[in-house]
Structures are given as C-alpha cells and as structure tokens.
Symmetry: C2
Subunit: 347 residues, 2 copies
DNA sequence: ACTCACCGGGAAAGCGCTATCTCACTACGG
DNA sequence: CCGTAGTGAGATAGCGCTTTCCCGGTGAGT
C-alpha cells in the first residue's frame, strides 16, 4: 500500500439498483418503497427494501431524482452581502422556512454588483430551482435591470417562481417592505420628541431602499415642520455610515439635532464616528436608523429605529413563491417605529 | 383566456437537444461546444451552436450534468445559526471562495441541535456535494457524534471531502482555531493590565469551543497569578451572555474585576446586562470577548477580544477540502489579542 | 363458472446530459 | 498509388433515478 493506510477504499455510493438487488425486488419497487409514490407496495417488500437501504447506507441521488422527475427541491437565494446582519437575518428566515418544506437553499452574494447579480441568476438558473429569491437591493435605472428582468421572466415561463424582497422590480411577486411609510412614521415621532433640524446619511442615489426611506423621512418632516438640512450619500454599509457622519461633523454640524441613517449598520457606524469625534451620540447629536437589527439594542445609547421583522420577511418571501397565487399574503410587512435612547426627548 | 392574460405560456426550458437541432449539429457537438471538452470542434460549428444557445436562452441543466458526469459543483455548508455574525462572516468567506471556484454553496442551519445536524448531513449527502463544511460547533460526548462521524466517513469513502472548522472531530481535516492559545494570551494580557480577579460567562460544558476557550483562559490566569472566581454557563448566544451576566450581578460581583465572555455576542449581551443593572462596563467591571466580530468596534466601550479572521477561516475551510492533501495549509489560523477600552489599564 | 375491474410487481422507456465508440475523410510517407 | 495515421462529427451507451406500461393474479358481480 503506497497510499495512506488509514484511508478507506473509495467506493461509489450505493445506487437504487444496489438496494433493489440486495432486497431481491425490482428497481421500480425499490423506488416506490423509498421515495413515496401513489402506488402501494406490499408491506413485506417495503420492509425488505428499507432494510437493504439502511444496510447499504443508501442515500438517493438528488440530481438523478431531479432529472427523472423534472423538478428539484432547491431554493436559490441571492443577497447583497451574507455578513450583513440585515441579509443574514433574512437568510435565516428563508432557510428555516425552506427546512420546514424540506427544501434545500443555495445561497449566493451579489456583493452589490448588478453585473454579478445577473451572472448569478444565469448560473443559478442551471440548477432549475423551484424558487429564486432576490433580496439584494434594486438599483433604479441600472443598465442591467432589463436583462435581469428578462432572465427572470424566462425562468418563470419555465415554471420557476420568483420572489423579491423590497419593492417589486416590474411585475414580480415581492414581499413589500414599506420603507416609505416606516421612515415617514419615524420622522413624525421624532418631530413629536421635539426635533426640528435633521441630516440624513444614506446610500447612493438609485438604491431603491435608500431612496424610499429618504423620501418617506422627508415627507414626514415636511408634514411636521422639520427641515432636512443636509444629505450625504456614502456606501450603504457600516463604514459608509462612519464615513458619512465624519464628513458631516467635519463640515460642521451647526445646529443639526438628529441624523437619520439609511439603515442600522450605517447608524451604528455613524454613532462610532460621533464618538470618535469626541461627541456623544444621543446627547450632542441624536441618531436614528432603520431595520432594527439585533445589535442596535446593545450599542450605547440603544438606537431608535424602524423595526422590520427580518426573519419573517425571509419566511414570507419563500411562502410567496411557494404558495398558490391566490393564497398569497401580499400585504406589506408590518413596520414599527421603536424609540430608544439615541433620540431622547428634547428640552 | 380565463388565465391571467399577462402570464407567459409555460414552456419547458430549452435542452441541449433543442440547441443541437437549431444549430443543425449533433448532440455531441453541441455538448462539446458549450461545455468544454478535450476535443476540438470546428470553429464554424461552434459559433452556430453558441448562437443557437443564445437564441434559445439555453442554460445547461446542472442536475443532468451531475448525473452524466458523476460529480457536482456543489459545496454544502453547515452552520449553527446563520444570523449569528460569527457564522455569517464565515459563511461569507466560504461563499466568496466557492464563487472563485465556480462552485455553488448550499447552506443549512443546525440550530445547535446535533440531531438536526445529523439529519442535515444525511439529506445533504443526497446532493453528492464535492465538499461538506461543518462549522457548527462540536459537542463533547454527544450521543450523535459517532453516527455523524460514520456518516462523514461514508461520505468521504464515496469521494466527498469534509472540512471542519474548529477542532477536528476525529480524523477529519479541519481549520484549526487556536481557541486555547488565544484565550491564554488574552488572559496574560489582562493580567498585564493589572486585572487579578475574574469571572467567566460561557456556553454549556461540552461545547468544545467554549471549553477550550475557558481552559486556555484559566491556564493564562494561573500562569499570571489571576483567579477565576466564578463561572456561569448559559447559552452560547447574545441572550445567554445577558442572562449569565445578570445572574453574576444578582449574586453579587464582590470584587470581580473582569468578566470573560466565551464569545463576542455573549460579551455584547453581557455589556448590556451590566448597563441595565446600572453599572458601566469597562469602569465598574471590565469585559472581554472572543472572535472580534465587526460590531464589537461599535459598542461602548469598544470590546477587548481575540481576533479570528472569520472570513479567511471560511475561505480556508473550502481550500482545505478542495486542495490536494499535500498542498493543504494545515497551520492553525492566526489569532491575535485586540485590547480595547472595555478593559482599561487598572490603577 | 366467467367476465371484469382492480391490485401491485417488473420491464423498460425516458429525463438531459457526457463520453466512448464508430467511421468517413483527409493528409502524408513510401 | 496504396496504406496508415490522424481528425473530428455523429451515433449511442450509459449516469441514477421515476413512471409509464404490461401482465398475471385476485376478488366481486352476475
């Protein structure tokens, strides 16, 4: 033996054929006993097959089943960034729901690049997943949008189901996050707390989520008599938040009472920037975010934000795709303003 | 039309056969042109095939390829909890590296249940993935360990590759996280800062990661003359950290200067508990964690911890499984103590 | 007693691919 | 001018399954 003596000899996995032979039945009977079928199978035969399968440690080849059945048990999930709590929470919801349905989730990250996203959709289509869930945020007017939409249409016409999270791109099913209303409600509440002069730190123009939240916030301010004095648009990430806030401080906060960040990770970054500039978030300048990711309870002061039940969003996205069109719950996800100490009552 | 008029008629996806017919070549030639092969194909034919494929929006059926080739392009990843930053960071690394290798990642969550983990491995085996990466933490003496190991052995003997993260279970390849040395180094540094009286808040006994970190920490303290006065073992999660810390405070901190949390999410929870008890973390009681997840920079005070390059760990786990056994980098991952303000120098 | 559904096992035809094998055709050395 | 060694396209045999389809055997109905 020149090989590693410990290494077990490589053997091919047991096939259904092996199981059938071991049990002394036909391939058909083995298939019927193991992987459900409308047809009944003699209990004794069935037991023999089950025993043989256990003995051979048989595990059905999902690819082969997919080919034979013409359908898979796969869900494809596209997110912008797996490490971002916004997406990972949502992914957790998708995975959990998929698990309940005995579906397998394949996951890919667009890294916020629409080119990549398009590529991924094309690749993933090869899997013939039952469902594709697109959670990476849409970009208004992106040159790849049409191609993406075409690709998804093709996928649908082949019997696949598509679900978006956030605002629908075109006519696809989507779990509606009411970014606009949430931000508007937040603005009203903040006005109620006595704030009047605001700045916003949010993602680049064109990122739909960022735009909607900003628009909603603005609308809320206008209704309540607040003013949005400054807007900076760094990356839609924690570091973006830090950077944007730093810029705001360097240019002079003069009179700005509260900074609205486009999402919680940005808000958290902004709070660090505030602190690093020698100021105290909440006291010297208030901060509010959006999403209610878990960590915002643990920063100091705890962050005021708009709660999105992210896990539920993930679960609903899958349900949306799986359920019969008429059984689908298309109502927008409930969002809720959560006031915490990062926005103390003024005066 | 009683159906939704907008809905495109459902058509089966184009098959290679369709492409071949469209291009006026044989199936074999179409296959060779589209999906690489050692054999050359007349350039004119090749172009015809490519054009036909584009026209029909052909996308090769990966399941069929898998069946025909006898191998897939799939990587299966098992984590305890997708929403936990420790795992999601790692997952991001795996996905990124997989993408480089043009592999597809399927992801599942054990929810810290070894029974579930075993089930998932069994199910995932049906996919015939090239690689299985197990990142959910091991439990010493768990009744399911043997079955899991057997399952993985079987998988390996069928040509699959297995990679663990954290300490190897049995004889499998593993990305070694040096929890023990990291915790020991942390303890020494803390002693160096003037701390002497410690408590630990960590996961249940048997969770290998928790045990190793605790053992390392203890060793470091002993070497340096510190004492570990109390140990509580709640869940290995943020809420566990909160709960454990609360318990510690309720029972009376008397003299404990620093609390070592088994991981960063616990540490973050613990800090919130401290604050909720009316104390100030860092000032009234210092806190240290382990992992260096991104958020610990943004809590107040920033958390002292032991840095693990989680993304790199994910990437390396995949490489470990993919590379030739002799080309594999089995050196333990570099960990590094990061001192921040949650553990100010004493006196 | 005889037809006639039904029941349930087995043979075999696919599913969409890949890879081996066959074979016509070209080019070239002797 | 023949034999021979490439070349490269096409036919086809699988890959591991599911699902017809076929068929002998049973029990019920008349």
């Amino acid at each position: 033996m020149t090989d590693d003596a410990v290494e077990t000899r490589r053997t091919a996995p047991a096939t259904l054929h092996d199981v059938a032979r071991e049990a002394g039945v036909s391939l058909a009977t083995a298939s019927r006993s193991l992987n459900g079928s409308t047809r009944k199978v003699n209990e004794e035969y069935r037991q023999r097959v089950l025993a043989a399968a256990a003995k051979l440690n048989y595990s059905p080849n999902l690819s082969a089943q997919a080919v034979a059945r013409g359908s898979t048990t796969t869900v494809a999930l596209l997110v912008a960034d797996i490490a971002d709590p916004y997406f990972s929470q949502m992914a957790a919801g998708v995975v959990r729901e998929a698990d309940r349905e005995r579906l397998i989730v394949t996951m890919a990250a667009t890294e916020r690049d629409t080119e990549r996203e398009l590529d991924l959709v094309r690749t993933l289509r090869g899997q013939r997943p039952r469902v594709m869930i697109l959670a990476a945020s849409r970009r208004e007017g992106d040159p790849n949008n049409d191609a993406l939409e075409a690709e998804l249409r093709a996928f649908e016409s082949n019997g696949g189901r598509v679900a978006f999270v956030s605002s629908a791109a075109g006519e696809f099913h989507a779990v509606q996050l009411d970014n606009r209303a949430g931000a508007e409600a937040l603005a009203r509440e903040l006005i109620g707390l006595g704030y009047r002069r605001f700045a916003a730190v949010t993602g680049a123009e064109g990122i739909r989520t960022a735009d909607e939240r900003l628009a909603g916030f603005r609308a809320g301010l206008e209704a309540g008599g607040g003013t949005l004095e400054r807007i900076v648009r760094p990356a839609f990430t924690r570091d973006g938040g830090y950077e944007g806030m730093t810029q705001l401080i360097e240019e002079g906060l003069d009179g700005i009472e509260l900074v609205f960040a486009g999402n919680d990770v940005m808000a958290v970054g902004a709070m660090s920037a505030i602190r690093d500039a020698g100021l105290t978030p909440g006291t010297d300048v208030a901060v509010a975010g959006f999403d209610d990711i878990p960590t915002v309870r643990d920063v100091t002061p705890p962050l005021t934000t708009v709660r999105i039940p992210l896990e539920e969003v993930g679960r609903r996205a899958l349900r949306l795709a799986l359920d019969e069109p008429d059984a689908v719950d298309e109502s927008p996800v409930h969002t809720e303003v959560v006031l915490r100490e990062s926005t103390p009552r003024r005066g």
